[in-house]
């Protein structure tokens, strides 16, 4: 949708993203992805996700179903699609067609105001990769015992995993 933002505003629609993420997370997303539209925070779903009937209570204590809702200039709901993947180009084209069908004048949408980005608690720490390298090293050694012909390759792989572990351990703690 971000890549089609110019087409959408030219067709008369402003775009907002809505999820349970808090403003700090959304600020990080806007910053990281250079999004041309704002992201709104609806942590408990009461502000929009539930009123628009796209609440998925089954996952993670409640999140939004992926959905797009087009609200016309009169405040009436003009179109909705629920459950799609908005990375899909056909869905983006479909949304654009729906906006164009409203026959509106172009609109401006100012770039979103930056916030204070807060990285996710779930962001992967580099140090957490060490067990994966060690797992790869162990697997290569175990396979090497069954594949004598692959001795050189196994040795190279084990060396490489050792170098990665050393490299990660040499980094400052994050």
């Amino acid at each position: 949708v971000a890549s089609r933002h110019d087409d959408l505003t030219a067709a008369g629609a402003r775009v907002v993203g809505i999820s349970v993420d808090d403003p700090g997370r959304n600020a990080a997303m806007v910053d990281k992805l250079h999004l041309p539209f704002p992201l709104l925070a609806d942590p408990d779903g009461e502000g929009a996700i539930k009123p628009y009937d796209v609440w998925n209570a089954e996952e993670k204590g409640g999140i939004a179903h992926p959905a797009a809702v087009l609200v016309g200039p009169d405040g009436e709901e003009a179109f909705r699609t629920v459950g799609g993947d908005f990375a899909d180009r056909p869905t983006e084209d479909e949304l654009l067609d729906e906006v164009r069908a409203l026959g509106l004048d172009p609109v401006e949408q100012a770039a979103p105001t930056p916030g204070k980005p807060q990285p996710s608690d779930r962001a992967l720490k580099v140090r957490s990769l060490v067990p994966y390298f060690l797992g790869g090293r162990f697997t290569a050694m175990a396979l090497g015992m069954r594949l004598p012909d692959a001795e050189d390759e196994v040795a190279r792989y084990v060396d490489e995993m050792d170098r990665w572990v050393a490299a990660v351990k040499a980094l400052p703690r994050d």
């Binding site: 349970v20 939004a64 179903h65």
Partner: protein, 35 residues
């Protein structure tokens, strides 16, 4: 069907209101979140 009004904080903490955008269309993209 009338779309429910909504007023939610954006990434900078400023409130975004659907009612402020009458006269233009608004495309609301609901997504799962980056958890």
């Amino acid at each position: 069907m009338a779309a429910p009004d909504l007023a939610l904080p954006d990434q900078s903490g400023a409130t975004w209101r659907l009612a402020d955008h009458r006269g233009a269309a608004a495309l609301l993209i609901f997504y799962r979140g980056d958890w």
